[in-house]
């Protein structure tokens, strides 16, 4: 992984310093660390980082300033990777992020996930590489909606679908389930067929298709009807 230039936005000093130390330890460079949305936008203009890691809630209003700043940046800097950290899962926030700039290079994670340092840094790197990372909790909620075609999936296929929706590649899914990559490919082909999704060779396009399907967005079969 090349050394990433990261802009951090988090109003809690303790956490900001901690995150900076963590990223530094894994060989990435924190070029700017700020405490509110306006400062983040200024920092991105000045340092042009590879990725922005931002807390949803920041001063002055302590509502969703971080998220708004992230969306503004996505609009003004197409291709800028953004990882948003939230204290708890809000489908609305996840949806707004996924709808920005095609949903590539976007991440939405619970703040808790920082604790699993290796996975967290892995998520930062994947987002910086233009992939999509969605918190397992978001995916769990999406899957629990039990839309009719989902019930046709086997338990194993549902497991695979969940991991794919989180933004994992075939290889990562295979590692997580301790099966061969070929087995994963077979499961995925089955899932795509059952859900009436177009087969896609590219891992990432498939992730986006699955997410769109789960969220019931245009592109998912229910909307096309």
């Amino acid at each position: 992984m090349p050394r990433l230039r990261v802009a951090l936005a988090e109003d809690g000093v303790l956490l900001r310093e901690g995150l900076a130390g963590l990223l530094d330890r894994f060989g990435h460079e924190v070029v700017a660390s700020v405490g509110d949305g306006a400062a983040l936008i200024a920092a991105v203009a000045e340092y042009e980082p590879d990725i922005v890691v931002a807390d949803v809630r920041m001063p002055p209003g302590f509502t969703d300033e971080g998220l708004r700043a992230a969306l503004t940046l996505r609009a003004s800097h197409p291709g800028l990777a953004v990882l948003v950290l939230s204290q708890y899962v809000e489908q609305t926030y996840a949806a707004e992020l996924l709808d920005s700039d095609g949903g590539s290079g976007i991440g939405y994670l619970l703040k808790d996930r920082i604790g699993d340092v290796r996975e967290f840094v892995d998520a930062v790197e994947r987002v910086a590489a233009g992939r999509t990372v969605v918190d397992p909790e978001v995916v769990r909620q999406l899957l629990s909606r039990r839309r009719a075609p989902l019930s046709r999936l086997t338990p194993r296929e549902r497991e695979v679908l969940g991991l794919v929706a989180e933004g994992r590649s075939n290889a990562a899914v295979a590692r997580a389930l301790v099966v061969s990559e070929a087995a994963v490919s077979k499961h995925i082909a089955g899932i795509l067929a059952k859900l009436d999704l177009p087969p896609a060779g590219d891992d990432h396009r498939r992730v986006l298709a699955v997410l769109a399907y789960l969220r019931g967005r245009p592109g998912g079969p229910e909307e096309r009807r």
Binding site: L15, D112, I114, G115, R118, R146
Partner: protein, 402 residues
């Protein structure tokens, strides 16, 4: 303890009631209607002496001028039979001066209620009041005075005295009951209290909500942040230890414990105050709650923008509680939430295809919901026959700008 009103005193122990001041207070209260009697007699006399036209004109003029003082007098004497504070329903004119005063009074509902009440008090109510007093006093008094009647023998009068003695407490009850009833009427028309109570309850609910937000923010800025930092430190420390070593195993356990504490804290914070409601409004918050429900729920919320915060919060609690009941008790396979703004009210409907039988009296959160809705002067109706389906409908008056 002294009863709060004459009407409440009537149901106390008879010995306590009869020795209390309530019968006498009621007597004094009803005798106050003599003023109305005098006014009515003057009007009738004027009609005979100066003709009906003059009398009617004079009566109208007197009504216009005197109905406000008359109402003030009614409120003043209400204290005799109702110990609760009596508030003046009139608002203070915005500017000093007679013009502003007159403009304010003419536009007030209270003024017209007072006018109407005075008309009824002068035309009808006074003879009811005095009729109750006279019948309560004269009959016992006649019976008790039997020995002094020249036509009656002393022995013959004894049963009459006994009857008088027996009847006077009964008539004291009758008089007090009428005085208390009349006071209820006066209270309802001239010094309505319910509106004020509801307003103060609403203020209390708002204050609670502000407090909950503060707690939520404190938890978010304090405990939660420290826990995340702790969990991160533990995660980093694990990297430095050889995997599988005893120390690493201990640390892993501590790390997982920190993760569980974070998850619990997260749920707690969400329960205290849902941030998405403040940020994105009712629609998003409802979709969020419904999205977490284990039972699939169709959400159909169509609102023209944001509603006043207190209404959003109330509606949100209604939906969360309904979702919790749906998941726990309904056995439903599908639910729905609909919200619309119709005729100046937020209409919220939540339903499912479950087994029904939801009962607000059974100690579920439904009773609390009804209270909460009542504070917003809203209405909650629940239909949940055994066998289902269940549907909950809440209407909350909602002023919408633009």
């Amino acid at each position: 303890m002294l009863a709060p009103t004459a009407l409440a005193a009537v149901t106390r122990r008879p010995s306590a009631f009869l020795r209390s001041s309530w019968p006498w207070r009621s007597l004094a209260y009803l005798l106050g209607s003599a003023i109305h009697a005098v006014a009515a007699c003057v009007a009738i006399y004027a009609a005979y002496a100066y003709g009906v036209g003059v009398a009617a004109g004079g009566a109208l003029l007197a009504l216009a001028v005197l109905s406000l003082p008359a109402a003030a007098f009614e409120r003043w004497r209400l204290r005799l039979v109702d110990r609760a504070p009596v508030d003046d329903p009139h608002v203070r004119p915005p500017r000093p001066g007679p013009r502003a005063w007159l403009a304010t009074r003419l536009r007030e509902q209270a003024t017209w209620r007072e006018l109407g009440f005075t008309v009824i008090a002068v035309s009808v109510m006074w003879w009811m009041d005095l009729g109750f007093v006279s019948s309560a006093i004269w009959l016992p008094l006649m019976l008790l005075s039997a020995p002094f009647q020249p036509s009656l023998h002393l022995v013959e009068s004894l049963p009459l005295i006994a009857a008088g003695l027996l009847l006077s407490p009964l008539f004291a009850y009758m008089m007090t009951a009428w005085a208390g009833t009349r006071a209820l009427l006066v209270r309802a028309v001239l010094a309505p209290r319910d509106a004020e109570i509801i307003r103060s309850r609403a203020r209390l609910v708002d204050a609670f909500e502000v407090e909950r937000r503060r707690i939520e923010r404190d938890l978010h800025d304090g405990a939660q942040q420290r826990l995340v930092a702790l969990s991160m430190k533990l995660g980093l420390a694990r990297l430095d230890l050889p995997p599988g070593s005893p120390a690493e195993a201990q640390l892993a356990e501590a790390h997982e414990e920190a993760g569980r504490a974070l998850a619990e804290l997260r749920e707690l914070i969400r329960g205290v105050h849902p941030q998405v409601l403040t940020d994105r409004g009712l629609g998003a918050a409802v979709r969020d709650v419904a999205g977490r429900s284990p039972v699939p729920v169709d959400v159909d919320v169509s609102l023209p923008g944001r509603l006043p915060p207190s209404i959003e919060v109330t509606a949100y609690y209604v939906v969360s509680e309904a979702m919790a009941n749906l998941a726990k008790h309904s056995g439903a396979r599908r639910g729905f939430v609909r919200a619309r703004l119709r005729d100046g009210a937020l209409v919220l409907e939540v339903g499912d295809d479950g087994v029904g039988g939801a009962d607000p009296a059974a100690g579920s959160g439904l009773a609390g919901l009804a209270d909460r809705v009542a504070v917003t002067e809203g209405l909650m109706t629940l239909s949940s026959p055994p066998g289902g389906p269940t549907s909950l409908r809440v209407e909350i008056p909602c002023p919408v700008s633009g």
